[in-house]
């Protein structure tokens, strides 16, 4: 490697094969893509990404349903639906021949529907009125994962949509929803359920003796622990649900297989921050371990700069350069306080005094046109009093612009480092970068804009009017 450390560093960066670019339009256009699952840690824009992808796919001619888990009210409103519910609603204002439907998972409703659909009337009402069921279905953490998978299975079975975009629950451990079927399975295969189902069967065959001792101790322990009435509630619940458990498992297994099938694409969503990308790396590994088809990484809120050839260091030096004359001018110990506006109200900085003293747009504050800038600068150093107030405020502003730029460049390099680390670990993962938006999404146009950003190869060169 080069002896120059700086060059060596550069070399390493370029030595990394740049991340493959994830091209989302072919994925959305491919009729064989039937399910897109967006997963990622909380607060990275997962739900918004799902909605934007759904809209884009619909506007490219597909019939799409977006299943959101817990959308912010704003997002529901951005799709023109004030409150999303458990039934897919058609979103108005979608351009083109496609259709977009959106819904929000209602855990309790979904659970109730399953009970109603799979148990006869008496049994269903016994379950629905069971206190243990009521609190289980009302949405303790965990129920959400089962119900999301159930709903996905239902939507797919209805076959009304040719593309389902799913947002995943903000799970405590990243991929809880993948574990749901397995957990249910291990519970159903376990002995506990037999204990709960058949406390009366205890006693009898000699070969079962050890287990029987265990079981009577068990029911005793459970009774002591839960209190007799709760144990009865749980037993009634399990007994009533018994006939349905098999169905639960069959469907959960089927949904799990559906996720592994070729028509499914997983998108891991992240932001270029350390924690989010660490979580993303975990998702990528976990999906691979489960044989789930990963389409790529959507990296939201990536910053760019149209002036990225000007480094943070040079920008700061230049800003100081502009501020220097006034520091000299101000004399005594106040120099260091230059940046706090309330400290120099008495100085000649018009911006700090009042906005009214700003130059009107029509009156360019430019001084004598003829003299080159460099000479002006020297002159100013010699006699600061010749500098007009307007010019001072422009200089102050320019210094501010440069400081802002320095901050942006630092952010850029931090994001680049985080991204490089991810790419080094997972060079196989294709990445779609989405340029950061200054504000939130409020309407379909906002979602469409995000869709455009998602599909654009690179955020570094945005259209000037995109405001990036």
């Amino acid at each position: 490697m080069s002896k120059d450390p700086a060059l060596a560093k550069e070399g390493t960066r370029h030595g990394l094969s740049p991340a493959r670019v994830l091209d989302l339009d072919p994925l959305l256009d491919d009729r064989k893509t039937r399910i897109i699952v967006c997963c990622g840690s909380g607060g990275v824009g997962k739900t918004t990404t799902a909605a934007a992808l759904g809209l884009r796919a619909a506007e490219r001619g597909r019939k799409v349903v977006v299943l959101t888990i817990d959308p912010a009210r704003r997002l529901a409103q951005s799709m023109g639906i004030d409150s999303l519910d458990n039934t897919p609603r058609r979103v108005k204002g979608v351009e083109g021949d496609g259709e977009l439907h959106a819904m929000m998972l209602d855990m309790k409703r979904t659970f109730d529907e399953i009970v109603e659909a799979h148990a006869d009337e008496d049994r269903a009402s016994a379950i629905l009125n069971n206190p243990f069921y009521q609190s289980l279905s009302a949405g303790f953490a965990g129920t959400q994962e089962y119900m999301a998978m159930e709903k996905l299975g239902q939507l797919r079975a209805r076959d009304e949509w040719d593309l389902i975009v799913v947002d995943t629950p903000p799970s405590r451990s990243a991929l809880d929803f993948l574990d749901a079927p397995k957990r249910l399975g291990s519970f159903l295969d376990g002995k506990l359920i037999r204990v709960l189902l058949a406390p009366a069967k205890v006693g009898g065959r000699a070969g079962m003796k050890f287990l029987n001792v265990g079981m009577s101790m068990m029911t005793g322990a459970l009774g002591k622990l839960l209190g007799g009435q709760l144990l009865r509630d749980v037993q009634t619940f399990v007994a009533a649900m018994d006939s349905m458990f098999g169905g639960f498992r069959t469907r959960a297994d089927a949904t799990y297989k559906l996720l592994q099938a070729p028509g499914t694409a997983f998108l891991v969503v992240a932001a270029p921050e350390r924690d989010a990308l660490r979580e993303a790396a975990y998702f990528v590994e976990r999906l691979a371990a489960e044989d789930m088809p990963l389409a790529g990484l959507v990296l939201n809120r990536v910053h760019g700069s149209g002036a990225d050839r000007l480094s943070a260091e040079r920008a700061l030096a230049a800003a100081e350069n502009l501020e220097e004359p006034r520091i000299v001018d101000q004399g005594d110990g106040k120099a260091g306080l230059r940046n706090s506006p309330d400290m120099y109200g008495s100085s000649e900085s018009p911006a700090a005094e009042s906005p009214a003293s700003e130059p009107p747009a029509s009156a360019p504050p430019a001084p004598d046109e003829g003299s080159p800038a460099a000479t002006q600068d020297t002159e100013r150093r010699q006699d600061p009093r010749q500098v007009s107030e307007q010019e001072m405020s422009v200089e102050q502003l320019t210094a501010g612009l440069l400081r802002l730029h320095a901050e942006r460049m630092r952010l850029l390099s931090r994001e680049q480092r985080t991204r490089d680390r991810f790419t080094a670990l997972h060079p196989e993962v294709a990445v779609a970068e989405v340029a950061a938006l200054p504000g939130d999404v409020h309407d379909l146009a906002g979602l469409r804009d995000i869709g455009n950003r998602l599909a654009a190869a690179h955020p570094e060169l945005p259209e000037p009017d995109a405001g990036v």
């Binding site: 303790f140 953490a141 405590r172 002591k224 230049a318 350069n321």
Partner: protein, 325 residues
């Protein structure tokens, strides 16, 4: 100052960081604090740059002035066995339960029970006393589930007490609720100056209040420094491009003439300032919304170099200065 400090917030707002900084701040001057993680993400270990935390209270940092920060990552399964042992003396029956898959059931399939264990364990640490009768920890700080789930999480024992109307579980659930609904507890919400987290904070506070859980403070995290003020932002809109170009040129960034280096910087720099302005306005709006919630507000700065251990101490010092601790 409440002895149990619960820190929640929307995902991505940095609640783990704030909880850790608070644990450090409260430990300053010889106090002992326990930082509890309930979501099994090992975020605390990563922040303090230590190895994976076991289910064991372990000293992870020393605070200025000799205080100590302990950390505990609660593993629901071990917590259940712990709990059975502690409250019901069910040692061998506990093992039988495990054999039967009851522990799996309790901690994963019936997820409400998991929350019971997590809150129960935290409250146990709050109440624990050493041999001399002093509290084992001066403060317990919980890195809690996100805002959307916090009320249900903290209230789970109310639900349990309703389900199990008698027996040890009922009593235990009530004991936990007594701690959580008393002034001994304080629930803080972490937010960013962005629309969605602020909205979620407002909703979360309303929910907590209607469940009669004690709401503490709002901590605005990752606040960016003010680079341009309102007057300068106004000027951004009106300033002639040539004047900026000349200024840049004067600063030594190349020619101000059309196509010169300085001139070509003007548009991108003004565009960045425009974006900044948009954000600035949005932040002011959101600050006003937060102000209307009637809770003490604290602000923590965005650390330019990203979050690391040094940054954590910086934030802790900031919290102390703002008298959050």
């Amino acid at each position: 100052m409440s002895r149990l400090q619960v820190v929640s917030g929307k995902g991505g707002t940095g609640k783990t960081t704030v909880a850790a900084a608070l644990a450090l701040a409260l430990a300053t001057e010889g106090k002992r604090t326990l930082l509890v993680e309930v979501e099994g993400r090992q975020g605390i270990a990563q922040l303090f740059e230590t190895e994976t935390l076991p289910y064991e209270e372990r000293k992870i940092a020393v605070a200025p002035g000799g205080g100590e920060v302990y950390a505990l990552a609660i593993d629901p399964e071990l917590a259940l066995l712990d709990y059975l042992q502690m409250f019901y003396k069910l040692g061998s029956a506990g093992r039988a339960l495990k054999k039967l898959g009851a522990i799996d059931f309790a901690t994963t399939v019936a997820p409400g029970l998991r929350d019971v264990l997590l809150t129960g364990k935290a409250c146990e640490a709050v109440r624990r006393k050493d041999k001399s009768g002093r509290f084992a920890y001066d403060y317990v700080i919980m890195d809690a589930p996100p805002t959307g789930r916090i009320t249900r999480f903290l209230n789970v024992n109310d639900e349990v007490a309703g389900l199990a109307k008698i027996g040890p579980i009922h009593n235990q659930a009530q004991a936990v609720m007594r701690v959580l609904k008393s002034p001994e507890t304080s629930v803080h919400l972490v937010t960013l100056l962005e629309e969605m987290p602020v909205q979620e904070t407002a909703d979360g506070i309303a929910e907590l209040r209607s469940a009669r859980l004690p709401v503490g403070r709002i901590i605005v995290n990752m606040v960016r420094p003010e680079v341009l003020d309102a007057a300068e932002l106004e000027l951004v809109r009106t300033v002639p491009r040539t004047a900026v170009a000349q200024s840049l040129s004067a600063a030594g960034l190349g020619g101000a003439r059309r196509g010169g280096h300085a001139e070509r910087l003007v548009d991108p720099l003004l565009a960045q300032a425009g974006e900044y302005g948009e954000r600035y306005a949005l932040e002011h709006e959101q600050r006003a919304v937060l102000g209307e919630l009637g809770l003490p507000l604290h602000e923590l700065p965005l650390l330019a170099e990203g979050m690391d251990l040094a940054g954590l101490y910086e934030l802790a010092a900031e919290l102390r200065e703002q008298r959050m601790s």
